[in-house]
């Protein structure tokens, strides 16, 4: 499709935002530009007809990462010192960055213009995969193995985040204590928005099987909802050592892995026989969403806080 003026402007804006986020001394300004950059990139994704990715990028890329960075900036502030580096470092960085960028540009323009990738194969096998949305089909059936590993990655990251807690803080609740002004905008948002968020999240997960959406996007929305309520101080995160929390975390990947192993009897790992494919995928998707939402919340909250002296 011929690039319209809109596409070009989006690209130029994207590059400017990135440049702003990267240069300059003020970290807060950089983070704000980063969030704007995130939204712009979602628009770009819409332009190249990748709705699922747009959703994911908006929710996770801009949303959660933004919150993470802001939270970090809030907690650390000036503590993050800048290592002393030789004077020519900036120049060298520029050269290296430009060099690699140029190489990538050279590669991109060298790509075959009509490369269709695997679109045909996916569509051909779509009905065998038991779901309507080709992205979900790839995500959960054709390349379900990647998704399984990815859910484990999330879990490992969470364990990693927890393991850097201070020695005394092990049994405590994750993240810092949030308290918002009673009746303030944050608290009213905290009360009002979760309901809407839940509905939207549930819909996205449900729709994922046939249209754009899916476990990750839905999970992220639900996570956002939970984070909002915690930020608003309405509810505090469960202690790191609570039993149900751990089982909930493990449930998603556990079920996915279990179903995959069941497939072994049917001849190959992670196989969904035609008939049972749809219900299996949907079941997995639901359980996975719950675990992912929970993991994402805990990831954003950070390591368990220190024990009170």
């Amino acid at each position: 499709m011929i690039a319209s003026g809109f596409d070009i402007t989006v690209c130029v804006l994207l590059c400017l935002c990135a440049l702003a986020a990267v240069t300059g001394r003020d970290t807060f300004r950089a983070i704000v530009f980063f969030i704007v950059y995130g939204l712009l990139i979602s628009v770009a994704w819409l332009r190249i007809d990748a709705i699922d990715v747009a959703l994911a990028e908006a929710a996770i890329g801009a949303g959660l990462t933004g919150v993470l960075l802001l939270g970090a900036f809030g907690q650390m502030g000036s503590a993050d010192t800048m290592a002393r580096e030789p004077r020519g470092a900036v120049l060298i960085a520029l050269v290296a960055g430009a060099g690699i960028g140029a190489a990538v540009l050279f590669a991109v323009q060298g790509l075959p213009p009509e490369g269709a990738g695997l679109t045909a194969e996916v569509l051909a096998q779509l009905e065998a995969s038991g779901v309507g949305n080709p992205v979900t089909a790839v995500l959960l059936n054709f390349r379900g193995y990647d998704t399984l590993l990815e859910s484990i990655v999330l879990l490992v990251a969470l364990i990693g985040v927890w393991s850097v807690a201070s020695e005394t803080g092990w049994g405590e609740r994750p993240g810092i204590v949030h308290h918002a002004r009673a009746g303030g905008t944050l608290q009213s948002f905290g009360r009002f928005l979760p309901a809407i968020g839940l509905v939207i999240g549930a819909y996205i997960v449900w729709a994922g099987s046939s249209g754009p959406g899916g476990a990750f996007q839905g999970g992220t929305v639900l996570a956002a909802v939970a984070i909002l309520t915690i930020l608003a101080g309405l509810v505090d995160a469960p202690r790191v050592t609570t039993r149900w929390l751990r089982w909930a975390l493990v449930m998603g990947p556990g079920v996915f892995l279990g179903v995959a192993l069941l497939g072994l009897f049917g001849g190959a790992f992670l196989v969904f026989p035609q008939a049972v494919a749809y219900p299996a995928i949907v079941a997995i998707e639901i359980v996975l969403t719950a675990s992912i939402a929970l993991t994402l919340v805990l990831l954003v909250l950070g390591p368990p806080r220190e024990a009170p002296q």
């Binding site: 690699i100 190489a103 990538v104 590993l149 879990l155 092990w170 192993l261 190959a268």
Partner: protein
Amino acid sequence: MVHPALLVAPIAAPLLAALLAIAFPRGAVAAALSAVGVALVASLVLVVEVARTGTGAALAIGGWPPPLGIALEADGLSAMFLLAASTIGLGVLVVAQGPFGWTGRETRKGYSFWPLALCLLAALNAIFLSRDFFNFYVGLELLSLSAVALVALDGKREAIEAALRYLMFALVGSLLYLLGAALLYAQYGTLDIGLIAASAETNGPTLVAAGLMTAGLAAKTALFPLHAWLPSAHTGAPAVASAMLSALVPKASFFILVRVWFDALPGQAGPGLTLVLGTMGAVAIVYGSILALLQERLKLIIAYSTVAQLGYLFLVFPLAGGDSTAQPWFAGAWTGGMVHAVSHGLAKAAMFLCAGAMMAAAGGDKLSDVRGIVAKMPLATFAFALAAVTLMGLPPSGGFLAKYLMLTAAFASGAWVWGAVVLAGGLLAALYLYRPLASLFAPADPDRTFTSVPLRTELVPLALALVAVLLGVASQFPYDILQVGRSVAAEAGLE
């Protein structure tokens, strides 16, 4: 045909155990040991099966053959690496029961160690078995994140700093690798090694993709200019963890590099690649050794020794195909490199476990702290010495066989520069390993007391070191296995 369970077990078992460890920490140790045990048995059977049938064991996940689905395959090389990883993993976890076992109440370290370690092993096995570039990426990420978390486990300032620097390097490496994979997919429409090899041709995108992947993987394998994160990371990590980190983690990214160049894009490898990797490997050997020579702390010496020994692996690129017609064997340098990877893994794991045991006994890891520990811990010292023999490449160890095959290839192909470097490496290893050995064997001053250490922390390293030496003696079997499914480029060379 090999039952698919064999291919899946090494990955699924540790993952299940990790999930169990997160949910039910009290049973973490039992779950971990049994899982890795299952993985070991599976890899053993796999190795035997591969040797017997002479062909790799393949499995298309979900029943979808590539390019759509992801294929797992265990050819000779992956079977060997799988077996090595499981052996070392089991050994490390057995020793880990000491510092991280269940002690009545749940501690931060005790809880976090087991899932991280199990995920690390699962990631390794996933990488060794996979045939899909993006699957490599997810495996690498899982591996890196768990490794970084393990490095930061001690909670001290140096450990966290090292972990952070390691994460930075690892992330940049992964991203460049991902970019390379994306470009390959864009060019060939598939991510499977076999399919790409079939349709690979020399053009812009392929070269840039390969270059990006190589740079990314070199950063994760801590090849010389990109090694700065490794020493501090492997020293900061608890000894048990650093045994796995030093012995296995860099080998995974090296394994992918071998898959990229020897299996997927042999035609695209030019003199640029072989010379750059060869030179960086050679400099790594010399530079790593010099730095190891200057260290005072035992773990730092061993860490820099890793930097040096990894240099050997990258000499495979210039040396592959160097065999002359006079030799009755073939693919000498390539097989030598792979045998070196395995024997170094075993020896390094043994050495770090010994260092850990000695640190526990002496309360510090400076050479002066562990002086004369041979009287109290003869087995550990002997294991350390055996591992040192393997690292120096002295017969009858596996290290010697690797060195010999590489040297023959170097001399046969006239590239005696690489040969000189390999030899210098052996001598330098003798130099920097002599100091710790001399202080271990030195007479301890009488008033110094060492606390006693459970016997298994000495027996496991001894067993691992003995396997490393055994690799040199009974080496016909590993040699044959490595030839199963070996790429043509390994024998013909990359130019």
